[in-house]
C-alpha cells in the first residue's frame, strides 16, 4: 500500500517533464518575438531586456503579412464546412446501410488520407490551372478535401454507429421525412461528433503547407508560406519571423481550448 501511494505521488513528474519539453521551444519563439533583432543576434537573454511590440506591429500594418492570416483562415473554414457537409450523409450511409462495394469504397477513401501530398503536388497544379482556380481560396479548400473528407467520414461514422438504429425507425414511424429527421433529431445527437470532425478538418487544413503553397501565388497565399518568402527576401528578420510563428500557434490553441473535452475521444476517432 505504501509503495503504491509513493508511485501515485511521483506520477505527476513524467507528464510535467514532458510538457516542459513541449513548451521550451515555444517559449523561445515567444521570447524572441518580443526582442529587437540586435538583442536576438548580439546577446543571449532568457527574457527580453527591452521588450518591444515592433515585430507584431510590422505584421499588423503590412498587408503582405496580415493578408496571409486572412487567406489561411478563409480556406481553412471553407474546407471545414465543405468536408463536414459532404461527409455527413456519406457517414450516415456507411453507418446504417450495406451497399454495393461499400467496404472497398471506404478503403479507397482512407487510402487518399494516407497518400503522400508530395505525389499530388505537380498534377494538382496542372489540374487546378486547367479549371482556372490557381490562387483562389476555393482551390486550396477543395484540394484539402482529399485528406479531410475521408477523415471526417471516418470520425462521423464512428459516432453515428453509437446511435441506436431504433431512433431512426421511431422517427420514420412518427412521420418524419428523412431530411427533417436528419437535421432535427439526428444531428443534435451526434453534435459532439460533428465538433470533433470539424476540429480535425480545421487542424489538418491549418497545418498543411505543401499543397496550399503549390496552389497559390499571391492572392490566396497562406500565412505559413508568406513566412518563408518574406524572411528570405528581407535578410533574416528573426523578430518578425518569431512573431509570425507565434501568431500561427494562436488559432490552434483557441480551437483546442474549445474542444478540450472531446480531444481524447476524437483522437481515438470515436472507435475505441
Amino acid at each position: 500500500m505504501n509503495a503504491q501511494a509513493k508511485t501515485r505521488n511521483l506520477s505527476w513528474i513524467v507528464p510535467t517533464l514532458y510538457i516542459l519539453f513541449l513548451l521550451l521551444p515555444i517559449y523561445w519563439l515567444v521570447n524572441m518575438s518580443f526582442k529587437t533583432n540586435t538583442e536576438i543576434t548580439a546577446t543571449f537573454t532568457l527574457i527580453p531586456q527591452a521588450p518591444t511590440l515592433r515585430n507584431y506591429q510590422v505584421i499588423f500594418t503590412d498587408p503582405a503579412w496580415y493578408s496571409g492570416y486572412i487567406n489561411s483562415i478563409i480556406y481553412v473554414v471553407l474546407n471545414t464546412v465543405i468536408s463536414v457537409t459532404a461527409a455527413l450523409p456519406a457517414a450516415y450511409a456507411f453507418s446504417r446501410y450495406r451497399f454495393l462495394g461499400d467496404k472497398h469504397l471506404f478503403f479507397w477513401l482512407l487510402t487518399n488520407r494516407m497518400a503522400p501530398p508530395a505525389v499530388f503536388a505537380l498534377p494538382f497544379f496542372q489540374l487546378y490551372s486547367a479549371f482556372g482556380l490557381i490562387d483562389t481560396h476555393i482551390a486550396v479548400a477543395i484540394a484539402h478535401c482529399l485528406f479531410n473528407v475521408p477523415l471526417a467520414v471516418w470520425i462521423l461514422e464512428g459516432f453515428m454507429s453509437g446511435v441506436p438504429k431504433e431512433i431512426d425507425e421511431t422517427a420514420y414511424i412518427d412521420g418524419y421525412s428523412f431530411p427533417k429527421f436528419f437535421v432535427k433529431i439526428f444531428m443534435p445527437l451526434i453534435a459532439s461528433g460533428i465538433g470533433v470532425a470539424a476540429f480535425f478538418c480545421f487542424m489538418f487544413s491549418w497545418v498543411e503547407l505543401l499543397i496550399a503553397r503549390t496552389l497559390t501565388t499571391t492572392d490566396a497565399k497562406p500565412i505559413a508560406a508568406t513566412m518563408t518568402r518574406t524572411v528570405s527576401a528581407s535578410g533574416m528578420d528573426w523578430g518578425v519571423l518569431a512573431a509570425a510563428g507565434v501568431l500561427t500557434i494562436i488559432p490552434g490553441a483557441l480551437v483546442i481550448w474549445f474542444v478540450r473535452n472531446y480531444i481524447a475521444k476524437g483522437f481515438a476517432l470515436g472507435r475505441v
Binding site: 454495393l100 462495394g101 467496404k103 496542372q126 490551372s129 486547367a130
Partner: protein, 93 residues
Amino acid sequence: MSFSWMAWTLPTALFFLTILALIVAMGVWEYFSPGGNPRVGVLRFETTRGDRLFISLLGSAFIHLAWLGLVGPSLWWALALSLVYAVGVFRYV
C-alpha cells in the same frame, strides 16, 4: 479548359479502361450474386472477391516492378507471371 496537360497515351488509356472494366465487372457480378463469396484463405483472414481482385492488382504491380528492377524491360513475362499469381489469389486466398 483544356486537358492536353494530362498527356494521355494509348497504353495508359487502355490500362485505365481495363481497371475500370474490371471494377464494373465486379460490380455486376456482385449485383447478381451478392455477398462477395467471403471465405478465409491461406492468409488466415476473411476476403471477398473484391479483396481478392485488389490483392491481385497490387501484387501484380509489385511483380512488374520487381521484374523491371531485377530482370529487364520485357514485361510480357511479368504480365504472364501476374496472371498466374492472380489465378492463385482467386483460388486460394
